[in-house]
Symmetry: C2
Subunit: 206 residues, 2 copies
């Protein structure tokens, strides 16, 4: 008589996420997740092939809350902007997983649906062929990079303080800009850059 499975992949994912949120990304080990679930480390290998697959499960768990339906209202740049902001918001709820995103992003079903939604808006806006490919990749690159900058080296962090204290003789612009940067919040930073990119897409020649 086959014994029923005692766990689901979703339980694995949320146990792993609980470990990361509580103790940080370095604490994510097969042993810690097993302890979180009250089983032995080897039991996890019934559900994932290896640690890499567990990480992919965590990434999908974080992204699964993103609304992937194409935004309905406003101009097409506004609608694309809404989609990009949705992704940022989901990641913002679990900032410790940020380093896992670039590595496992392409295996996430949610990212596939989200991409389909963004492409739908771009297609309606008249983007076709290579131009649509480049637009999508530029949006993805900005989203991935900006989310990482925000959490791995925020303007409010020590890096900015260090730069503000740099010798003005050697780093005149950097010292001045770092001082200004103290007054730019994360929403303004992310939204400002996104607006620049969307404006560039809007004036993009055929």
């Amino acid at each position: 008589m086959p014994r029923p499975r005692s766990l689901t992949p979703a339980q694995l994912a949320s146990a792993a996420l609980a470990v990361i949120d509580r103790d940080g990304l370095p604490a994510l080990t097969m042993r810690a997740v097993a302890a979180e679930l009250g089983t032995s480390p080897m039991a996890l290998y019934r559900y994932v092939a290896d640690r890499d697959e567990l990480e992919a499960l965590v990434v999908e768990e974080v992204l699964s809350t993103v609304d992937t339906a194409p935004a309905a209202d406003g101009s097409w740049p506004d609608r694309v902007g809404v989609m990009v902001r949705r992704m940022r918001l989901a990641v913002g709820r679990h900032p410790a997983v940020v380093p896992l995103l670039p590595v496992h992003r392409h295996r996430s079903p949610t990212v596939l649906r989200w991409t389909e939604g963004v492409l739908g808006v771009l297609a309606e806006a008249g983007f076709v062929g290579t131009r649509r490919v480049v637009a999508l990749r530029a949006l993805l690159a900005y989203a991935v990079g900006a989310i990482q900058l925000e959490h791995l080296g925020p303007l409010s962090g020590p890096g900015t303080t260090t730069m503000a204290a740099l010798p003005v003789g050697e780093f005149p612009h950097l010292a001045a800009t770092a001082a200004d940067a103290r007054r730019v919040g994360p929403d303004e930073e992310f939204g400002g850059g996104l607006d620049v990119l969307l404006r560039g897409l809007a004036v993009d020649p055929d």
Copy 2:
């Protein structure tokens, strides 16, 4: 009589980079770098406090080849574009270190000088205050994200093939766009997105 040091930080960095280039990033261990240098693992701790510091040394080694002098010729978007491409080229010579860049970027003296150079061009172009901060961060975010996409999930890779084979009923735009993506090379992808961003900066209102 104090025994002279037998190693320099630069030797550590290039030995570590040799290990990474030959055996991949997971092969970067204190033990492997020590073996590469013909010393004991513990000898490394005379030169770095821990593994984290060794990683920072590797990142600086990769970026140290970037020319940080402000580009001299052309319009300001062209000059900023040249600076961003220089950073991409340096990373392209050691793609395996890409995952280390976002984490250790802000500790690199070369990145400080590069940033000073970019800010110099932006300042000449009339960017001041918050607008200059947002422009710099948008360029950084794009560079960091696009370089990662290029090496962690390239358009020429299996991800694109998977997407091209998706059911057309559920993913009409994605399947079509993935087919188009096969014809976009990495230079065209990176340069195309960068041009979009620079165009957005050029039309940015005060």
